[in-house]
Amino acid sequence: MIDAGPVGDVGDTTSAGVGLDDTASDDTASDSTASAVLIMLTDGRFPSGGHAYSAGMEQAVTWGDVVDLATAEAFAIGRATTSSMAAAQVTAAAATVVATASSDLAKTGDLLDSLDAETDARMASAPARQVSRQQGRRWLRAVRGVWPEPLARLSRPGPAGRDMMGGRHGWVVVGAATGLLGVGPADAATVALYELVGTPMWAAVRLLGLDPVATAGAVARLVAGHEPSVRRLAVTAAHETAQRLSVPGRPVDWSWISWSTAPMSDLAAEAHQRREERLFAS
């Protein structure tokens, strides 16, 4: 059984995070490896396809809802206060599932299936679900190429001859990958938060010609402002998942994952998909 970390203690979640084994979390070398993974995953140059997405910003600009840095930041705050909750919890849950049940491939696959279905249920727009799976494929291609050995634990065909990580939503892939790479759930949730607010903000730089330094300042404020709550949610989610997995035979219930969404994001995804002249994939 894996220790999911001190629940509620957001200050020390990296070292107490869900590792692949119990000893790794106390190992300084392992921690620094996890830090390097974290830096790479959030680097804009990491080839996971992020440059092609605007997370609804292109549509918001088209509608005239976002016209400058202040309105772009307001758009990103909307994401940080709604979608980020489920993103943090799904990411943390996937990381915990992988770390806890990785010796039982069939069980891991079933759990990731159910987490994937829960993610579907939280995305009202079909185009948004499609984009989320596309992002999952692109993340998976990148992390498998960069860290082939740890990722191979879930790459090999499972008992039913299926790929445990293929075809999943983006957050499930990010969660599972961070779990395999020894990144703790709180740090994994920070990655999710950074992606959630960074994707539309960096797209706004290209769409509106915003000052990149001022935009980076806004991203820093957004992440700093929302990180504590997102990390707390992730630690609780990891703990909740680990507890439920620890009871043999008990069906895993994900209903506690946040249902908070932003309806305008779903509407934007629908409108964006129908447009002919669009530059971004979302």
Partner: protein
């Protein structure tokens, strides 16, 4: 009229392999050729002409990366050179060079989807969005790349160089018929290009009239054949 200025595939750049070390082996999948170059130089026209020239010779697929991606795909579909399902459009989020060089996942996804249709003996052309002279393809995405310039873009462009001009596997100088109208010195442009390319081939074309397309198609088929030996 077209001129084969240098078509010497046996030079150091070679016909075999796929560019620098670490490039993928084309074994078991279609051969991939990237076509890049500045806006308006004739990339889409060249892709359409190559499809028309080669469609009875080899199984073909095309990926387009235009900023308004469906535009090029629609042009190709309208020309009827390929079935619609063999043309894929990739959205690049205002970063055409990123999508072909630094973060190639979306394009890899598109070429892999085409692989199933095209078959392992086929040919997939990947057309970049119009970009600048530094925009080249990653050899993680393609096996060989063609860079397309046109004389109307200025005859100094070849001398200025940049990775597209100096490092591409084939440089095509297009619209040579316009040279007298725009005051361009084609001979100078071609000799400048040859000088900066270290023996890599250069071809002069007027794709709109079909001039030189057969030579480009011949080069494509030759490098594809050589990669299979």
């Amino acid at each position: 009229m077209h001129r084969d200025v240098v078509v010497d595939g046996d030079r150091a750049v070679g016909l075999t392999g796929g560019g620098p070390s670490g490039s993928p082996s084309p074994e078991g999948r279609a051969f991939r050729v990237g076509i890049g170059g500045p806006v308006g130089s004739g990339k889409t026209a060249l892709v359409a002409a190559l499809c028309a020239e080669l469609k009875d010779v080899v199984s073909l697929g095309v990926v387009t990366n235009d900023i308004y991606t469906t535009e090029d795909a629609d042009t190709l579909r309208r020309l009827g050179v390929l079935d619609a399902e063999r043309i894929k459009a990739v959205r690049t989020g205002c970063c055409p060079h990123t999508a072909i060089r630094d973060d190639i996942g979306a394009n890899l996804e598109a070429v892999e989807e085409l692989d199933e249709l095209v078959g392992e003996d086929g040919l997939v052309l990947v057309e970049s969005g119009g970009d600048n002279l530094t925009a080249t393809f990653s050899y993680g995405l393609i096996d060989k790349q063609i860079f397309v310039l046109d004389v109307a873009g200025g005859d100094k462009v070849a001398r200025k160089g940049g990775p597209g001009v100096t490092r591409s596997d084939l440089l095509v100088v297009n619209k040579v018929d316009l040279a007298p109208l725009v005051g361009a010195d084609v001979e100078r442009m071609l000799s400048d290009a040859v000088a900066v390319r270290g023996g890599r081939p250069v071809l002069a074309t007027t794709v709109r009239c079909g001039d030189g397309v057969d030579a480009v198609a011949g080069w494509v088929m030759a490098v594809r054949q050589a990669a299979r030996c």
